[in-house]
Symmetry: C2
Subunit: 218 residues, 2 copies
DNA sequence: CGCATAGTTAATCGATTGATAAATTGCGGC
DNA sequence: GCCGCAATTTATCAATCGATTAACTATGCG
């Protein structure tokens, strides 16, 4: 009644823990957090109680998965990139979203983020508030300059402006949702697509901003 | 050992079935399809076995929820609206997305659609293929005309063009995801936001299209 | 009033869940 | 080589899942 001989492999705690965490990320990304510990163990080729030697509860393992997935993906230099006026804003945005999609666009990140949002908590809210403060606000500040409008020091940023940055971001992120959640094909040439989308943004948004403020100030 | 007197309410089968379906839509939208039948019954104020008098299995109830949510939301006149060249394209798109968001932007639709996508199946794929054929393709056809480019009869639609329509759509739909999945605030003035986004689209996309074809044909 | 029909319920079953305790086995140090 | 510790497994528990059965009770018809 023993396991198949030779299958039992004794790893160091560090190796085993890493194996469990990596497997859990993949597993929960696929089936959601209601996925069963027995099924996870089977995929890892270990027994279910062994999971509980490394993590006191399923909830703790999930918490660990969150941390592994969200930490270390953010590139602080993005914030400097956006405000580097030695390059055209269009070029900066293309670079930003090229790198952003390379960092974020993958099966595990997109699906775990969505499961996490549906579940509740406030993990997604916290993450996106950072995105807004570190990316969208500076982008809008730069947009003011490109559009020939007063700086944000003189005229505070309006929610309507922020929404235009959210819209650019949402259109791009929707690609990831299409691919990893709706299981639909997306362009092979992602970089080319980003170039076109950012080009449309640069051509259209400053005009809209001036249009908005002109109506607004009347 | 009987239930509390007076609580028992006898409804006609039609009323009871409707009550169960409506409650199930709300319930599964909130917690996902792993939500338990006992909890659903409790929220409805009935006992769990009664669910099985109306639906042979949980899976059948879920199937019914799908049909209730997705059927009857699509407005066939949208397809005619897009190609009505007696009005400016910008006005047509604003009208379209005003109506589209009124029809689709609600808690149940957005969350059940997302749960359904994560679960797999092909419900989301089928729906979105309709959206592409009925909305995005005609929009791109109209864009050709606005941009002064050859009609789609002469030069077939390219995937890159379709992606620009997907991008507009994704940016707008991302608002719904922010609100009902990430639990973030979105603009109160949704119609005004749509006006600005569509304006940016009309200002930026034709330029990008000509830019794209110019590079392309070299 | 009485009876049949049907809506509703309590009680329960077998399978599965997260989690635990105890037995087993692999590996490094002597 | 073998000894001991710790990694891993077997066996199992209590709770909970979807689903079933049989009994209970409200309503309409005569």
């Amino acid at each position: 009644m023993k396991a198949e001989t030779g299958k039992r492999r004794r790893l160091t705690p560090e190796q085993r823990e890493r194996q469990i965490v990596d497997g859990a990320i993949r597993f929960f990304a696929e089936v959601g957090f209601e996925g069963q510990t027995r099924e996870l163990a089977k995929r890892l080729g270990i027994t279910q109680p062994l999971l509980y030697r490394y993590f006191p509860s399923k909830e703790c393992l999930i918490e660990r998965v969150y941390n592994e997935v969200y930490i270390k993906r953010w590139q602080p230099h993005w914030e400097a990139l956006i405000i580097d006026r030695s390059r055209p804003l269009e070029e900066r945005l293309v670079t930003l979203y090229r790198e952003y999609t390379r960092a974020i666009f993958n099966y595990e990140w997109v699906r775990i983020f969505m499961f996490s949002g549906l579940k509740g908590g406030n993990i997604t809210e916290r993450y996106l508030s950072i995105v807004q403060d570190k990316l969208f606000v500076p982008v809008c500040t730069e947009l003011r300059e490109v559009a020939g409008l007063p700086s944000t020091d003189e005229v505070p940023l309006e929610p309507e402006e922020l929404e235009l940055a959210w819209n650019l971001h949402g259109g791009i992120y929707y690609l990831a949702i299409r691919k990893w959640i709706y299981n639909l094909p997306i362009p092979e040439d992602l970089d080319g697509h980003i170039e076109r989308v950012v080009h449309s943004f640069i051509e259209g948004t400053p005009v809209t901003l001036r249009w908005h403020f002109a109506r607004h100030d009347v």
